[in-house]
Amino acid sequence: MDKYDNVSELTQQYLDRELLRFTTAGSVDDGKSTLIGRMLYDSKAIFQDQMEQLETASKLRGEEHVDLALLTDGLRAEREQGITIDVAYRYFSTPKRKFIIADTPGHVQYTRNMVTGASTADLAVILIDARNGVLTQSKRHGFIASLLGIPHVLVCVNKMDLVDYSKEVYDKIVADYTAFSEKLEVHDITFIPISALEGDNVVTKSERTPWYDGATVLHHLESVTIAADRNLVDFRFPVQYVIRPHQDYRGFAGMVVSGTIKPGEEIVALPSGMRSKVREITTYDGPLEEAFESQSVVLSLEDEIDVSRGEMICRRHNVPHVTQRIEAIVSWMDDKNPLSLTGHYLLQHTTHVVKAYISELLYEIDVNTMHRSSADTLELNEIGRVEIKTAEPLFVDSYRNNRATGSFILIDPVTNLTVAAGMIRTDTHDADDYIETQERARRAEAGAEPGTAGRTAPKSEHITYEAGAITLADREKRNGHKAAVVWFTGLSGSGKSTISLALEKQLFEEGLQVTRLDGDNVRHGLSSDLGFSIEDRRENIRRVAEAAKLLFEAGQIVICSFISPFAEDRDFARRILPEGRFVEVYTTADMDTLKSRDPKGLYEKAERGEIQQFTGVTSPYEAPESPEVVVDTAVATPEEGLTWVVDAVRGVVR
């Protein structure tokens, strides 16, 4: 880096540091403020004049020693109450790293602040008072860290001076907390015995804990590996702002929130689905050969396509879920208005703000015990799982895979306040992940493991997801082929029935496990209560998709043959299956051909207005954007079409 060349050596030492953001949690009086004060003090982040102020303040309060805790305690109102009640940010640095501390209070009513502080943290420091052992609050802090996807947890067992630096006391706490943490989705937990007040194992290693041979708190913070936590795989670029200095240049400004991108690579813009290539990655410091996660850049594209704020640029073959229905864990943050199932909200996701409503509150999670129970609402500091519907599609990933595209806030449109923070749980969409989840669900005690929430959640605490002891993998092994869903979509008369029936016959004769669902066998039973309004047709398709999934899990190749006019419904069917197991077949023909076929005279009746809501005439049909197979039956024969579909299915199930 040439910029660094003309800088003195001494100064260079401080320039190349990594940034680590951590949050601190502990119950009142566990010694959190003292620990932070100690780190700031010992790393010389406290200045002389602050020290003098501190001494004056400590004296005014009638204290003999300088109270390090006073350093981190901000507003006067809080000082008077003697507790901190909001998230405060502190800074210090060592030659290795710059640290940003989100300091949050551990009071039971302040889950909100802990969630806020945790949202950007790489690591959580949890304090436990050695005299008290593992209390409910300590578990709550771990649970919130897990919920917010903090990759690293550091448990400081504090006040070791008050338990004579006892190894037994420490070991018991480590054992208890380790047992508890197995229920969490935190994969890196470290324990350190400390005395924040005396400084043992905070910055320097203590002689009073000879039995402990791990790192000090500061050393751990300086050396824990965070580079591997980044998502450098899934390129996501929410457009923030469009830059148009003149007619010939249109640049899309934003931050690469995950993944990497190079000029020349193919991209797709969501929701339009328009494709192009990256022409240049522009920055003030010159064009880049590659942009990666965390960089703020400007992208320009080869083609003049229209992308605006709130839209997202991704790679063609790696896109997030496009959906108007999400399931999420929300943490309620409004102290006046509880969650409402009738009210409307604004949902802010990346740079996109859409109207939304909460269609269902599935259950509440007790932050202390992690137990789930049904609930009518959520109030301040309560956490629960909800289903949300939005007025426009969102482009989401599961929070577990992507904190930036898996998170959102809800805003009350009347007060404009931020009322909830949400973490999206999408259905699993990767085959390996899917099988792993099944395995995990089998092992977990019912309802106890948050990891099982990766599946669509049960609606009542009494029904928990039971994976059979026999897995899909077992069934596929015995069948000698994989399971799949082959979904035919297209207008009436386009050839769905003809080709799908022939497909079923052929696969059956080859000895494969195959089942077919169509309007005839569904409308009379599973959906006999539904009519033909848009709402009902969508519900019908949803039921078919879920039924197909059950048959899929039983190892079947499931053929579905439905007009299924809405892309979103078909995408739902695709999304609830492991990736690569859904074959969408689009049968089509020009309108004149369709009308001339019209075996039941339906088009004619529809045009005369005798049938309401007839797809293609009086009701819309959204053609698939990238189906696995397209058969234009005006051009191809049914036999030709069949061979294409058979090839595609073989590619999946073999």
Partner: protein, 301 residues
Amino acid sequence: MSAYHMNHLKQLESEAIYVFREVAAQCERPVLLFSGGKDSITCAYLARKAFWPGKIPFPVMHIDTGHNFQETLDFRDYFLSELNAKLIVRTVQDSIDKGRVQEETGPQASRNALQTVTLLDALKEFQFDCAIGGARRDEEKARAKERFFSFRNEFGQWDPKNQRPELWYLFNGQKKKGEHFRAFPISNWTELDVWQYILIEDIEIPNLYLSHEREVVERDGVLLAKSSVVPLMEGEHHERRKVRFRTIGDMTNTGAVESPAHSVDDIVQEIAATRTTERGGRADDKRSEAAMEDRKRQGYF
């Protein structure tokens, strides 16, 4: 280190650029406040980067107390024209002349509190709905809880109890008519970060920051520059010292420090080793421990 490594300055820069773009996208009429100090210089420079190759899509405003160093004003005009930014100036003197505020009297008189009124009047005059400032959270305890997007009610006031939680990088910019925001792109920077950034980016700064000889008077442990707005009190006298300023504000209350640092590199080393906060040099903060908090409640940025 992997090819995808970013050092802390690059990360802070990217974060600040992100904040600037959020402001420009979410607010209709933002304005960048400029005091002439290193933080607002850094901010203006970052704004340029954020919208490159376009122009900065909002004006820059200076609230001139009339007690500024001439060097600050000269630098302001030069620097902003280099950035191709549009400058608006509103003066405290004007507010005094219009009877909006009353000047403090006596040798310790300061216009620091008065500029709040001038600022709020100017925001109203231009109907600005977001004032972007260069405040940092490490400056003072009361600022440690400040948000990137800080909500102000229709009186321009800040209510520490009524701030919106700020999660991830999702800034809630919803507001009603008359309400506005303050936005702080360099919230997460420390004094040292700012100087390191100025150093590696080679950003120009006013000479006041570098060591020079100047006539000063020592008052309550603070060195104030000789000027017509700082009359001598009984028993005081001017003397020549080798000084520089760590912050640049009004001549009435910006203290100089004795320092031999005559390059930005020297400054970085001095800060890295120093044991006094930059605010320690500001006379107005010494007036009360909770001084900053009180000013913030009234709409000071």
